[in-house]
Symmetry: C2
Subunit: 743 residues, 2 copies
């Protein structure tokens, strides 16, 4: 049996028994965690379990890397908290350990590296300066370090409670130090904390507590505070200084020291409890295997056959990167007492609502449910659901209140165990109650305008992005209102969801007519604007320009097509959009910008004019041009797995319209795909005659019945389903009619 | 030398030498901390130093007393944090110790009491149930307990980290438990924390850390968690349970156990540092003397002669009660790193801006400066200056953004060391940026209305209170604008400060015409309203009615007099207001409500129509009727010393118009008063011919020059000054002209 055939037999063989099904497959070998570490992907690199609180990895260079890692230069140590894929200023990088040799010093201790290895739940490297081999693995709340010092050499281990990532200083998005404390409690134990504020989300102070255990009693110790070393002094209370401790160890036969570091966002006592509960003994490989198993359990929810190895690597790496964040902090909430789950590091839902949450809804609905419950609980106690949240503080909102769409998505897909009535209240609050003071924190900035004028005027920043996102979010509210029998509210928000049209100006640009355009409070257009003008926080569009954002009406593509002048004009416009896409001399992509979330669905819009084969072609062009199984294989910020989950869907050949129970069909990059759903149900996609040349769908059978449309509903697959595609080399007449539903 | 003469000689004797001046007088003996413990005064009772972080006192009854203390029933223990004089739901009551005897139990341990004694910095009581004598004293951050157990009896001490005051459950203003932790670190030391949220200000979670040291090693110990006792178990990490620890002590000769409890809002390490820094050894009386000295140092800033003993007790008790809060938490800020002072427990500035802060400006300008710097720092890092703030979280705003007036008050009085430019930005933010989401948190709720319509419409709660307070606050902004040379802004806010007139409706009530009245957004009056309709959070007036609040225009009494129909009509209206004052059948005071801050200045308004003798009469009537040197001697919530500081000014016979450099003269209750200012300067008031009958000012000499007006400026006294009044039995023609300045 050749390997492919074996794979196929294993996945799709004759009615797998339960025992077989629960066998863990080794899919982690297809994960390359380095994908996205270059080219601005900013993914976390290190050891973590899915949604793990500890993300233990190297902090490199000048502490000015967004997620700690940088491909070259010094490693300054290994810290326990990171975000993944984010842009802007850094967050976390707390409680850093660094092994050294020689005279104890705690500044300028970085080392060049070699033999760097990373796999799910595992990281290893040689620190050339000290000839130390370091290996890391993790449980949910504990980092396990293994440091092998050169033979017969005294080893030092530094514990830096004052360390954090500082990237973003120049533009006010850096973290700022608040305080730290360290306490050597025995000859094997240390506890303390690091307290930091700020960072990209401009959040208030958060505290990372730790309790650390060495496997070997140290020989000597000391602490430092505010740059001064204190030999033998075992405590540095928090007086607002950066503190740390050093430990030296006598050489021993294998000269290996292991350290377990329990982390908590509640207290040092809870950090100690986390160490005790999650680890026993010192078997590094056992902990590593446990981490590997936890990833395999997630990865095996999608099984593929056919396709090339690179695509398989891209798929499983994408799944891996989609499940590093948000962080499951259930039991680690220091803000209120609750029985609800608690997730932090939504970073940002504006990024992840499009594909990350819909992916979880399919392959991990329990986690998706828990995340939504946490959002609702955050509303209950903090006042608003988050758009972004990190370090226990909401902020910053990028475009809209896109959690609205996450909730509508769960609702239309029948996700159980969610208090939708309270969620609806939280959504109405988003829509009606101005967040005030800091309008980047939560809710909807500029809604006094939006709710009276029907658009956000140029009096407010990001007026264009806000208007189109609010319209999409209003459709989500309408969706929930309808489902909950709130008919008046349904009518109200359905009407509002067309508000994007209030900024639609019939100007022409490169043959296309009609663009989202800045409008003043008095109703006149801002003449000082053009369709390719890019923007950021203080501008009309956030991370976008009008060519891109004028194609963003995910809830009403039909309405958009009509505003654009009908199907033909729309097709021509899309063609221009993709074909003129290029990086301009400011480094910004004009027209289609592959790494930008507002354009995530745009390549699929051909489906809405009966040309799914063109969506298919665009996707293939995009995958070939911008994505690969290499370190630079993501074309920009992964944004908490947003880009990765987008990639995963495109590789599987279907795409979720978030907030609606609709998936758009393009064509898979594999001949067979099995998606494990809840309750042992499976959604299978088979692509008959699949080959590198046969990229066009000729016909499709859904659950045994031929379909002549390029979409299906969540209801079609949620209790198990089968999509059988027949592929061919030439374009077909399949699905030219019956476009996907639209508003 | 009789006692009075001695007193006089001591205070006013021939040019006191420096050595004499620095001698600490024992004025604490005139303080009766029990004043205000009954009749709703809600003052803190226990041991504390001025503005101390530790306020160590008994928590009584069912933990449902606002400030912990209740005159009778059980004492449940002694906790370290309290507020003083507040209304609404309780705050604090953290880290409670209780000595017991017999079998260890940690529920239903309360004891009846006898021999209760309280003095500044000292509290003692006998716990009848256990025959234990308890005495308490405090430094700034440390509570020192002395427990004397019955002879030959084993003593228990319980340390409850889960305790807090719960008053306010029924109406949503109670505190809520978040978590706690306890850790017995040696046979004499315990550390841990209590984490609680909510309370009157509906604040987020705050954490009170402690480090406790016994003077005697305990014999046995154990902990509890979630109601279950664990003998010998020394640690209870925070898993969201209420935790505590017990300790038993073998009998010893004196059978006295002392305990020092360091408190910190930063960490257990900082709590330990606080114990070590602020205390050494176990000399209870030395610590008590130190606390007593710190109070004397404050009290001796005002020295009086003549007058009766009750008035002296009332004066010094009032000064004492005015300096329990806000809490100086400099060095205890866990939210940001700063070199600025940090004060918490502004509770609320709406109460204290009127007399408490002006009192500090005179007798403790350094503290007043530091408080203002802390408000500005809170704006820098939290976004808004507080109106109220407790447990490190802003909220709730009662009426306006009255910190604006505190800053204007400091500015016009020439207080140095304040960054007025940044303060001005913070004031402008109050006035211009809607606080959003939770409009009770900070800033000005309803300003979209106020800034467009010129009044807060009935769309918003507290529209009447807000409109009149915003007008007063706008005058404060105009004051600062003028001083900073911002002429356009001066004009803008000066104009706005007349906005109260936009709610003035020419209706009649009991012979008076013109009242602040609810107005709808469309400009029509709300007909469903009357002039005595009381209100609270959700109503038109906060803690007030229109008869009261229509007389609240502190920045423009002349404008108010004009709107009321001139001096005669105004006098008649004031007479009605005071003479019809009575408690209605709902328990609310109609017309003049002595315990309500908006009416603080109203008795003085006769000064503005040239009848200071009538202000004087009203004040005397009010003092006689509502104030005394007894437990019920304050006529309602002391509100962080607001009522007490009002009383202090009235006893001294002059009254500050907050935000303006004006003091109104009535007549002193003492024949001589010396107020110590900065730089060894003194402001002296002498009342020649003073007697109980001679209550009317006949003539006045200010700094050597006769004055014919019932007011003076801060500039007249700030570098030292002397006001010489001549008193007489009959009304005089003194100061019938030249009314105090008005807007």
């Amino acid at each position: 049996m050749n390997r492919l055939l074996f794979f196929f037999a294993l996945f799709f063989g004759i009615s797998l028994s339960y025992a077989q099904r629960t066998t863990t497959l080794s899919l982690t070998k297809y994960v390359n965690p380095f994908i996205g570490t270059e080219n601005g992907g900013n993914v976390f690199l290190g050891a973590a379990v899915p949604f793990g609180m500890v993300k233990l990895g190297p902090d490199c260079g000048k502490n000015d890397n967004n997620s700690g890692y940088y491909k070259e230069g010094n490693i300054n140590g290994f810290s326990h908290t990171h975000v993944s894929g984010t842009g802007g200023g850094a967050k976390y990088g707390n409680i850093l350990l660094m092994p050294t040799t020689g005279k104890v010093q705690f500044e300028n201790i970085g080392s060049l590296r070699s033999n760097e290895i990373c796999a799910p739940g595992y990281y290893a490297v040689s620190l050339d300066r000290y000839k130390i081999k370091a290996a890391l693995t993790a449980t949910h709340s504990v980092g396990l370090h293994s440091y092998t010092f050169p033979a017969k050499t005294k080893g030092n281990i530094l514990v830096d409670a004052g360390h954090f990532l500082e990237f973003g200083k120049d533009w006010g998005e850096s973290q700022e130090f608040v305080g730290s404390e360290i306490n050597i409690v025995s000859d094997r134990e240390v506890s303390g904390y690091s307290r930091v504020r700020g960072g990209w989300n401009k959040g208030g102070a958060y505290t990372v507590y730790f309790h650390l255990i060495f496997d070997t009693p140290f020989d000597q110790c000391g602490t430092w505070s505010n740059g001064v070393l204190f030999d033998k002094i075992r405590t540095q209370p928090d007086v607002g200084n950066k503190t740390g401790a050093y430990f030296t160890f006598k050489p021993k036969p294998n000269n290996n020291i292991k350290v377990k570091v329990g982390i908590s966002f509640v207290s040092t006592g809870k950090a100690k409890l986390n160490v005790e509960k999650e680890t026993s003994g010192w078997d590094f490989n056992a902990v590593r295997k446990q981490a590997d198993d936890s990833w395999n359990k997630q990865l095996e929810k999608i099984k593929v056959a056919g396709g090339n190895e690179n695509h398989k690597t891209m798929l499983y790496s994408a799944l891996y990167h989609s499940m590093l964040m948000p962080t499951n902090k259930t039991g680690e909430n220091s803000l209120w007492k609750t029985n609800e789950p608690y997730y932090d590091d939504y970073y940002a839902i504006w990024d992840t609502y499009r594909t990350t949450h819909p992916l979880l809804t399919i392959i991990n609905p329990a986690v998706q449910r828990d995340m939504i419950r946490s959002m609702i609980d955050i509303y209950r106690f903090d006042g608003y659901m988050p758009d972004a949240r990190s370090g226990n503080v909401n902020g910053r909102t990028q475009g809209g209140s896109n959690c609205d769409i996450v909730i509508a998505d769960a609702f239309v897909k029948g996700l159980k165990g969610i208090d939708y009535a309270t969620a609806f209240k939280a959504m109405i609050k988003n829509a009606e109650v101005p967040p005030g003071g800091n309008e980047q924190k939560e809710g909807r900035g500029g809604i006094p305008d939006y709710n009276t004028l029907g658009y956000v005027s140029t009096d407010y920043e990001r007026a264009g992005t806000r208007t189109v996102e609010y319209a999409a979010c209003d459709y989500a509210i309408a969706t929930l209102a309808k489902g909950l029998g709130e008919n008046d509210l349904y009518e109200k928000y359905l009407k509002r969801s067309s508000n994007w049209k209030n900024l639609w100006r019939p100007v022409e640009s490169f043959g296309a007519k009609g663009f989202i355009w800045p409008k003043k409070k008095n109703g006149t257009w801002d003449e000082n604007f053009n369709t390719l003008q890019p923007g950021s926080w203080n501008d009309f569009f956030y991370e976008s320009q009008s060519w891109e954002l004028s194609l963003y009406v995910p809830h009403d593509p039909s309405g958009l097509i009509e505003m654009c002048g009908g199907a033909k004009a729309f097709e021509s416009r899309l063609d221009t959009f993709f074909e003129k896409s290029k990086t301009n001399d400011r480094g910004w992509m004009d027209f289609y910008n592959v790494n930008n979330e507002p354009g995530f669905m745009t390549p699929l819009l051909y489906n809405y004019i009966g040309k799914p084969e063109k969506s298919n072609e665009r996707i293939r062009q995009i995958l070939d041009k911008y994505f690969s199984a290499t370190r630079g294989g993501l074309p920009g910020n992964d944004d908490s797995g947003a880009m990765s989950s987008w990639l995963a869907f495109q590789l599987m050949g279907f795409y979720p319209v978030a907030g609606q129970d609709i998936y758009l069909i393009t064509a898979p990059q594999f001949s067979k795909i099995a998606v494990q759903l809840e309750k042992q149900k499976t959604f299978e996609i088979t692509a008959k005659n699949w080959s590198l040349k046969n990229i066009y769908v000729q016909s499709a059978i859904l659950n045994g019945r031929p379909i002549y449309q390029s979409w299906f509903r969540h209801a079609d697959i949620k209790d198990g389903g089968k999509l059988e595609l027949v592929m061919g080399e030439k374009k077909s007449a399949w699905a030219t009619g019956n476009p996907p539903p639209s508003m």
